[in-house]
């Protein structure tokens, strides 16, 4: 799949996953790329932007193997943003599905 606007969906995926639990970048990228074909490198720029916009915060946590990892978690305003995106996403997919099924025609 090669869609210009896939990047917008990536933001939704990252927010959904972070809403479930705090994760470090690699874990997050693996969880997404298990489901959708993405360029894993794009997850970090997105995480940086979410952090700068105050939608996510980071903290360091020791790991049993190797150096401490940078974990990302959602802030309250991040959760609010997620709810908005989810609503938009549902409206959008409902519309598309209805068109596909021909109900609106």
């Amino acid at each position: 799949m090669n869609v210009q606007f896939k990047k917008g969906v990536l933001e939704l995926c990252v927010l959904v996953l972070l809403d479930q639990k705090a994760q470090y970048g690699y874990e997050l990228a693996q969880n997404i790329s298990n489901q959708i074909e993405i360029s894993e490198g794009a997850v970090y720029p997105l995480l940086r932007r979410l952090t700068k916009d105050g939608l996510a915060t980071t903290y360091l946590q020791e790991s049993s193997e190797g150096p401490p990892r940078k974990y990302y978690k959602l802030t309250p305003s991040g959760s609010g943003h997620l709810q908005e995106l989810l609503k938009e996403w549902q409206m959008f997919t409902n519309g598309v599905n209805q068109l596909i099924e021909g109900k609106e025609l």
Partner: protein
């Protein structure tokens, strides 16, 4: 391409960042490599899954410039953001540069009209100096009227220019967030 080469190329692509932020970004990708290696992948596989370091650098740079112009809305910051966003890929050349050139020409046209109207009496004066015999008072009054109109257009153009510039900044932000910048997979 191994880890060192990936990081080296990424660093080169991040030269417009402050050093501190550069290191921050490079650390993130280093962490990514060490996690991947622990996961049993080779450095080459990890680098391939990350995509091109140059494209990543472009994307991060575009984001950086858009943030800058949001923080300090100066003309030079605006143009830096404009070029960085356009540089993301061919798709953006069309959907960013196209509207920009169209709106920029409208703005320039508006300013030229305003300046020409304001300077209309100068034209009448020059004409009077060159050909005193055809001086007509109504030309003078009409041109002074145009000056007033030109000033009004100028004031409106000032606000229109600021408004359009701010809309463009919002559009850059949307573009960097939503639109694929020539990356292979996202």
């Amino acid at each position: 391409m191994g880890k060192d080469q990936f990081l080296f190329r990424l660093k080169k692509a991040l030269k417009s960042f402050p050093v501190e932020e550069q290191n921050d970004i490079l650390n993130d990708y280093e962490e990514y490599f060490s996690n991947g290696v622990k996961d049993g992948k080779t450095e080459e596989e990890i680098a391939a899954s990350l995509g091109s370091p140059e494209q990543l650098g472009k994307e991060l740079t575009a984001m950086h410039h858009v943030e800058n112009v949001e923080g300090r809305n100066t003309t030079s910051n605006f143009f830096r953001a404009l070029w960085a966003v356009i540089g993301l890929g061919f798709f953006n050349l069309v959907i960013v540069l196209g509207p920009f050139l169209a709106l920029a020409s409208i703005i320039i046209a508006g300013w030229i009209v305003s300046i020409t109207f304001v300077l209309a009496p100068v034209g009448v004066l020059i004409n009077t100096v060159l050909y005193p015999e055809i001086f007509a008072a109504y030309n003078m009054f009409f041109s002074i009227g145009l000056t007033g109109l030109g000033l009004l257009i100028g004031i409106s153009m000032y606000y229109v220019t600021i408004w359009i510039k701010n809309k463009f900044i919002q559009y850059f932000k949307f573009n960097v967030r939503m639109v694929k910048g020539g990356m292979n997979h996202v």
